[in-house]
């Protein structure tokens, strides 16, 4: 059931992309998203696709793995495509009954689908090449400036680290409880929505109990080691900008400049 879940999953290999500074990668991902929404031409998208392909190749993450991450949002892409296709006014090129398909609609829908696909693939490059812990370290560091406006950067990052840390644990637990209940004849796969929801009770009750128990144990373990938030806390991994980071930043600047040029052209 959870075997196809790739969004947010780390793919642990050693590559130049994996070794980049997380802060840089987060910023680059944001710029990448912005660039996707700036582009409104075929040449632009082809350029982005080439760029992303190069990045994926360098990262040593199999393309199959990246594409697999699209599966859960395929439905959303499809809906967006259909809505854009039917709702955009313009020059009508095809009519079926009351449904009118316009040239602009087709163009808009196609672009939107490609844009979303690239968006997911691009952002999943961030999570695939960065381990969750390093990623939250990066987020914490990036949020630091907002501390003076009362943003609890460390607490937020800690919450995220813990949440991320427990996703695989809870998934494993879910699978285990599911198997135990299946052994008692439970059926999670058939029936209508109502009976399916009811069938989830034997899964959810034990899952919540164990989640609370784990939270309790973790809080105690942290307190036993004198954890008390962000004040004066040093960290094991110091983030440093390296030569590779400068190179990546340079390449990315060139990319963004190229996108702007294509846009203005």
């Amino acid at each position: 059931m959870f075997k196809n879940l790739t969004i947010g999953q780390h793919y642990p290999v050693d590559s130049p992309i994996h070794n980049l500074d997380p802060r840089l990668k987060i910023i680059m991902t944001f710029i990448f998203i912005i660039s996707l929404f700036l582009i409104e031409s075929f040449t632009g998208f082809i350029f982005v696709i080439i760029f992303l392909t190069v990045i994926i190749t360098i990262s040593k993450v199999p393309v199959k793995f990246v594409i697999k991450g699209l599966r859960p949002i395929l439905f959303i892409i499809l809906i967006t495509f259909i809505i854009n296709l039917l709702m955009t006014p313009g020059r009508v090129i095809y009519t079926i009954g009351v449904i009118k398909i316009t040239e602009e609609g087709l163009r808009q829908a196609g672009f939107m689908a490609v844009r979303l696909t690239l968006l997911i693939m691009g952002t999943s490059m961030l999570t695939l090449t960065t381990s969750p812990i390093i990623l939250t370290d990066g987020i914490e560091s990036l949020l630091k400036p907002f501390k003076r406006f009362g943003l609890p950067a460390h607490e937020l990052a800690m919450m995220m680290t813990i949440a991320l840390r427990f996703i695989p644990t809870l998934m494993e637990e879910t699978e285990k409880i599911m198997k135990a209940q299946k052994s008692r004849g439970a059926d999670f796969e058939s029936g209508n929505i109502m009976s399916r929801a009811k069938n989830l009770v034997p899964l959810l009750v034990p899952l919540f109990i164990s989640a609370f128990r784990r939270a309790d144990e973790l809080a105690m373990a942290m307190e036993a080691r004198c954890y008390r938030g962000g004040e004066n806390r040093t960290r094991m991994r110091q983030m440093k900008i390296s030569k590779g980071d400068y190179a990546a930043a340079f390449v990315f600047t060139v990319y963004f400049a190229a996108v702007l040029i294509i846009k203005i052209w």
Binding site: Y11, I177, A180, S183, G185, D187, V205
Partner: protein, 286 residues
């Protein structure tokens, strides 16, 4: 009547860097009426193997047969197989979810489409099989019980399905000595008095040697040894090599033998060891 696996292979996460070969060419047979122990180190594939027994997982290669039926994807057959092969997971108390003990135990039989009367009967029977007084326990919340009691309720939840085979994965993990004895005694009784075919999974030879007829030793997904507990015991070095501890009696007996005492090697219980040592001491005194 038996559970048989034929040359099964099981691979986790095929096609990713997390790919692992959990079981490699494993053929085992569990005959009806037997009491079998499966021992192995963490990650030896023992938990995977028992999940193949009741169709929770399907082998990547090879086949599993339960009483002549090949375990496949057919839903009706699977339901029957899961009823025939009762699987008690590690820490089974984490599967409890109902408000009362009786309701929780009834969850399994309720999924079998049988009459309410039959369900009530089975719940009572199952709870008594694991040593509870039905009237005292039935309305108690399972979350108010002690660890060992919770575990017995969970085992009753599987017994209420009336399985032919009872498979238990580390049933005493995390219990204190009293709780452990409680569980082992119940399992022994289930085998001897209620004639269940029992498969006991453990990482400790010490725990299961006294109970089982036959031991299957798994290591790195393969069958490393198979035989009666005495046969396995006499190869203590072999067990230590694959990271399994050997029972204290076995290591004492071996050590005495190494120092020139004439003592039998295939000793299982402390009683037997005592007799043998006394015999040797008397002989030497003469």
């Amino acid at each position: 009547m038996s559970i048989r696996t034929e040359n099964i292979k099981y691979i986790y996460s095929e096609g990713t860097p997390f790919r692992t070969l959990a079981l490699d060419n494993v053929s085992v047979t569990i005959n009806q009426g037997e009491f079998v122990g499966i021992i192995g180190h963490t990650g030896s594939g023992k938990s995977t193997l028992i999940q193949l027994f009741n169709g929770l997982e399907l082998p990547t290669e090879g086949k599993v047969e339960v009483d002549g039926t090949i375990v496949g994807k057919d839903k009706k057959e699977l339901k029957l197989i899961r009823q025939t092969v009762g699987l008690v997971f590690q820490y089974p108390e984490y599967q409890l979810f109902e408000e009362t003990v009786a309701k929780d135990v009834a969850f399994g039989p309720m999924n079998l489409n049988i009459s309410q009367q039959e369900i009530d009967f089975r719940v009572k029977e199952a709870l008594e099989l694991v040593g509870f007084n039905y009237n005292k326990i039935k309305d108690v919340s399972p979350f108010e019980l002690s660890g060992g009691q919770k575990r017995r309720v969970a085992i009753a939840g599987v017994l209420a399905m009336k399985p032919q085979y009872l498979i238990l994965d580390e049933p005493t993990a995390g219990l204190d000595p009293a709780g452990r004895n409680e569980i082992f005694n119940q399992i022994k009784k289930l085998h001897e008095e209620s004639k269940f075919t029992v498969v006991l999974v453990s990482h400790s030879m010490e725990d299961i040697a006294k109970l089982v007829d036959r031991v299957i030793v798994l290591s790195k997904g393969k069958i490393h040894m198979e035989g009666s507990p005495k046969e396995i015991y006499s190869q203590a070095e072999e067990l230590e090599k694959i990271g399994l501890g050997i029972p204290q009696t076995a290591s004492i007996v071996r050590e005495l033998k190494n120092r020139g005492f004439n003592i039998k090697q295939d000793i299982l219980t402390i009683e037997e060891a005592k007799e043998e040592i006394l015999k040797e001491v008397r002989r030497r005194n003469v």
